[in-house]
């Protein structure tokens, strides 16, 4: 199964940088599904799930951004108390480390989507699958 490709960008912490990212994607007609910014003082890392990651990667690179593609998991969680716990507890018990995670709510709003970067993506997929957690496919994320 094709993994979901997250786009990560290195950006300096100065006015207008995030706007430039958004404008570049918007001009290319690429839609942002989920986004998070991790900041560390004078710089930060923007992580995004896009409807068309290959195109997004290409246009950002053409605009001289420092950009990389990372495989991540998108798992559905119940949009109710305990939804997150079920997932991270499963991973923790199986000794899978979560490097970072961020969540968004889908348009249908019945379910929340959790984006996970883990150190062992195949194992995470397996142990979550055994618990009956639904893992979104690339097509599903694109179609949101």
């Amino acid at each position: 199964m094709a993994e979901i490709k997250q786009i990560s960008l290195f950006v300096e912490n100065r006015p207008g940088r995030t706007a430039k990212v958004a404008k570049t994607l918007s001009d290319a007609g690429v839609n942002i599904r989920a986004l998070t910014i991790a900041e560390a003082g004078d710089f930060g890392v923007i992580r995004m799930v896009l409807d068309d990651p290959e195109k997004g990667y290409k246009v950002l690179k053409e605009n001289a951004f420092t950009v990389s593609m990372t495989d991540v998991l998108a798992v559905e969680m119940k949009d109710s108390p305990g939804g997150l716990y079920e997932i991270v507890n499963t991973l923790g018990q199986s000794n899978v480390n979560v490097d970072y995670a961020y969540a968004f709510v889908t348009a249908k709003a019945e379910r929340a989507m959790l984006i996970l970067r883990v150190d062992d993506i195949a194992k995470a997929r397996r142990v979550l699958g055994e618990k009956g957690v639904k893992i979104a496919t690339r097509e599903e994320v694109q179609a949101i």
């Binding site: 290195f10 300096e12 710089f43 890392v45 992580r47 001289a64 420092t66 990389s68 490097d99």
Partner: protein, 434 residues
Amino acid sequence: MSGYWDPHIERMPLEDLHALQEDRLKAIVRYVYDHSAFYRQRFKEAGVEPGAIRSLADITKLPFTRKVDLRDNYPTGMFSAPISQVVRYHVSSGTTGKPTVVGYTKGDIETWSESLARALTSIGLGRGDVVQVGYGYGLFTGGLGLHYGAERIGAAVLPIGTGNTERQIELMMDLGTTAIACTPSYFLHIMEVAERMGVSIKDDTKLVAGVFGAEPWSLETRKRIEDATGINAYDVYGTSEISGPLFTECHEKSGIHVWGDMFLAEVVDPKTGEPVEDGERGELVFTTLHKFALPLIRYRIGDLSILTNEPCDCGRTHPRILRILGRTDDMLIIRGINVFPSQVESVLMNIPEVGDHWEIIVDRKGPLDIMTVRVELTESGFSDKIGDLMGLKKKVSKELKSVLNIAAEVDLVEPGTVPRSMGKAKRVTDNRKV
């Protein structure tokens, strides 16, 4: 490997070379005394007459000259030849003070070209080569100096000057440029633009040699350039006061040959002015032995280096200066510690996650000097985990500290944000009020 331009002179036995230097030293000292009011006055103040110079060792009896003398005697007060014999002027930019004017007789231009003809031959260039001169033309000596030197050996010169980087790359391909002369920082920029244009310098051009100078650069930068492009990168040295670019490394790449029949190089302790031992570091001092419009006697160039008289494997007997560490006036004093930008460069160029362009910013906060080194993150150095990036910052900072002995702040910046230069790179911004 490559031949010699003037084998008789270049391989002259040291005793013969010293005898020639001695004759020329005596002659030039007599010449400036007779023709320049400035030198006559200087020598009198120092209590020395031309007749007192009987051997090479007597040179230490002569007073030093400095850039400030050229400025104080602006524009032509230090000249020895009548102005009617001057066929060319070059003028320094005056970025660190009043400009300095250098004049050349017809013979001086010949000597200058001859010096570079020997140098360019020693790196294997000659007839059939295409030399792209990417140094500035005009008042700056770089462009015209290399131009005349390359023409003299029968190479085809492409006098493109600085800037117009895409055109540089197009012409390099179209005309089959085999050697380029420019500042190393500008060449790094050319490499960057070539990559953006989808041009591989290694595969799509005939470039085999670079003649890089006019600013200090490190062995680590040489390695980066050579690894990325497959060319041989040679150091070229000279300053406008002693003509312009004059000397290069030979194909052995182990020091810059200073033509002893034209120039007498000494190395002195920058503080005391006393000569240092052969092979010890100090400030370069040049006496021009065969230059007549503006001869310079014991001129304190301000560059720090090491001089060696050991013969080179290439067979040339003339002394060599090892890599230029920096200029005394490029040296920063941060919290009382001497820091050369070239030291910073050699640290950074050893760290693959850091790009080719960088700068130093110095501020004063209260009583404390703060040195910030801004480095560009490379594509391959980018990890989207914050911890990795913080780790990289720490690594750069730690390695700087181990070499400089002072702590430096490290800023990771996006590629393309550090200013690019076409000529001499401006690596340092010192915001401290002096």
